[in-house]
């Protein structure tokens, strides 16, 4: 085995340990935001298609460019705020944990309420986030208020 392979193997073992321990813990504290399985699957599908390039597979974003989705008030706070971001896009100068981000987020208003609800639920319930689910009705309400 090459040194690199050995290291990977070691990391793999440790990662497996961590995930075993983690999954044990997870079963005792069910994440609130995972919603139904079908909604979670759809949320991941929408995330992969529309969000992943910029926010990355692990939700950590891109340094200086695209904000992280992990542990920020933009994601975990008031649901109205994150629904508005998804519908309107985002082009403000924000600082998150001391970092600023330059790229514009386009609007995703073309997506159905259900898809937006599922993807926001997915984001709020993965990557180490544990916020409650977003319902399609909540998206519809914000959309209607915005279109007034």
């Amino acid at each position: 085995m090459t040194p690199m392979k050995k290291n990977i193997f070691l990391i793999g073992i440790l990662a497996t340990c961590a995930s075993v321990v983690f999954s044990q813990q997870k079963s005792t504290t069910a994440t609130k935001a995972n919603g139904t399985n079908a909604a979670d699957v759809n949320g991941k599908k929408v995330y992969t298609k529309y969000c992943l390039t910029c926010h990355q597979a692990d939700g950590g974003g891109v340094q200086n460019m695209n904000p992280t989705l992990i542990g920020t008030s933009y994601v975990l706070g008031d649901k109205g705020a994150i629904i508005r971001i998804a519908l309107n896009g985002f082009n403000d100068n924000v600082e998150i944990n001391g970092q600023t981000y330059s790229n514009k987020m386009p609007s995703f208003a073309m997506l159905k309420d259900k898809d937006i609800a599922d993807v926001l639920t997915y984001v709020r319930g993965h990557f180490g986030n544990h916020a409650d689910a977003v319902a399609p009705g909540e998206v519809a309400k914000v959309r209607a208020a915005m279109n007034k």
């Binding site: 040194p3 690199m4 050995k6 290291n7 990977i8 193997f9 070691l10 990391i11 073992i13 440790l14 497996t16 340990c17 075993v20 321990v21 044990q24 813990q25 005792t28 992969t48 529309y50 992943l52 390039t53 910029c54 990355q56 597979a57 692990d58 950590g60 891109v62 340094q63 200086n64 460019m65 695209n66 896009g89 100068n93 600023t100 981000y101 330059s102 790229n103 514009k104 987020m105 386009p106 609007s107």
Partner: protein, 425 residues
């Protein structure tokens, strides 16, 4: 339940300890890499990490007596430029900080230190020891350059005729009606090009210049971070960051695999009045053609950019060339003389495909033209192949500078490491 977690953890720990003993056997290989600050280099080269936590170290300039100036992405405690002195033990020590502004550009020329914020260019007079004389009172050479966050860094370089060149990046990906909106088409006669998306030329010694005093030296360049004045040819060379998101924006025309490789990151040799073709076209390094951008009716095959110049070299997509340096030293072997080093910051836009870059590349030159295939010169900044693929790199190369002895300096803007690469026969 708790007991089970503990037993699983204990088993893992034992396995890990067992494997650690294996690690001892690979100590030599690890030491070899550790000697080079974690970098993989060609035979005969050696790297030291002379500083490790300066913060977001962007561009770097090294004076003829070895004094180092680094521009920080974000000013820390009111200090956006740091000065370092190299000690006899090989480490570099921060001795001063000044310049209360964020930014990227820094350059030394004829007794002055030039530095840029994301809107302005300043210069500081140096004394005979290359120390800044009045760090609190720079001359503001250029002011009011456009900053709309996207591509706002203002990289700078000087020629030998008293001019300074500054990149003004386009505040857009591809001049769509709605920036980065899937399917949104391109704006006719892209108005961004009036004030951005090119290289502007100003006088290096005149204070208070604005757009009206400058010359749009070259246009149709989306965003340039790495640029250098080629002393042998007396000509400006730039590395363009190619456009993003061909698949996200036009999924029916481009697969994620095509998106990962296209378009090329291009090296351009510029003359006054040149046009790089952005946003109407991009360069496809696989077809070796200028291709009409999908926002302007392209389909991945139709050619475009009839008025645009060709790149002199083209590299795989999204690797983000943030530093360019023509090597003029004599420390490195002959083949490196007058060739180009390029610091690739590393990709993000290749997702969901694996990311790439996070390395310093060498492009050989002969008689003023690229000659032969480029090669990876320094690799391993990310920390591992997995960290490169995921984009979660430990270090990301950004700025390049040549020391008076011919050593090559590389900055990292993630943790702020500064590497010094030397060669011994």
């Amino acid at each position: 339940m708790k007991q089970r977690i503990l037993s699983v953890s204990a088993a893992c720990l034992i396995a890990a300890i067992g494997l650690l003993s294996f690690q001892v056997n690979t100590k030599h290989a690890a030491e070899h890499q550790a000697r080079n600050a974690g970098l993989k280099l060609p035979a005969g080269f050696h790297a030291d990490m002379i500083a490790d936590t300066t913060g977001g170290a962007r561009h770097i300039a090294v004076a003829d007596n070895g004094v180092i100036y680094v521009k920080l992405l974000k000013a820390k405690n009111g200090k956006g430029i740091i000065e370092l002195h190299q000690k006899s033990d090989g480490a570099a020590e921060v001795v001063a900080g000044f310049g209360d502004y964020d930014g990227t550009g820094i350059y030394l020329k004829d007794g002055y230190l030039y530095a840029s914020s994301n809107e302005d260019i300043f210069r500081y007079k140096l004394d005979k020891n290359n120390e800044v004389m009045n760090p609190g009172q720079p001359e503001k050479i250029v002011t009011g350059l456009i900053n709309r966050r996207e591509h706002n860094s203002k990289s700078i370089v000087l020629d030998n005729a008293g001019n300074i060149y500054v990149n003004i990046g386009a505040y857009s990906n591809s001049c769509q009606v709605d920036d980065r909106q899937p399917g949104s088409m391109g704006r006719e006669g892209c108005p961004i090009l009036d004030s951005a998306g090119g290289i502007w030329q100003f006088k290096a010694d005149k204070q208070g210049q604005g757009y009206g005093d400058g010359v749009r030296y070259a246009t149709g360049l989306r965003n340039v971070v790495g640029l250098d004045w080629n002393q042998q040819l007396n000509q400006l060379f730039v590395m363009q960051h190619g456009r993003d998101q061909l698949h996200d924006l036009f999924p029916e025309l481009y697969t994620t695999k095509q998106n990962a490789l296209l378009p090329a990151e291009c090296l351009y040799a510029l003359k006054k009045g040149d046009n790089g073709g952005w946003p109407y076209m991009y360069y496809d390094q696989i077809q070796h053609k200028k291709i009409l951008a999908p926002e302007y009716g392209g389909n991945g095959k139709k050619e475009g950019g009839q008025n645009a110049i060709d790149p002199v070299a083209a590299f795989p997509g999204h690797m983000a060339p943030n530093g360019l340096l023509f090597y003029t030293g004599t420390m490195f072997p002959e083949k490196y003389r007058n060739g180009a080093f390029i610091a690739f910051h590393g990709s993000w836009n290749r997702a969901p495909e694996p990311q790439a870059g996070y390395c310093v590349v060498f492009q050989p030159f002969k008689n003023g033209k690229p000659s032969g295939q480029w090669e990876v010169f320094a690799d391993g900044f990310s920390g591992s192949a997995e960290k490169t693929a995921s984009g979660r790199a430990d270090h990301r190369p950004c700025g390049l500078a040549q020391g008076p002895d011919g050593a090559l300096y590389v900055t990292d803007d993630t943790k702020g490491a500064i590497y010094k690469i030397t060669y011994k026969k």
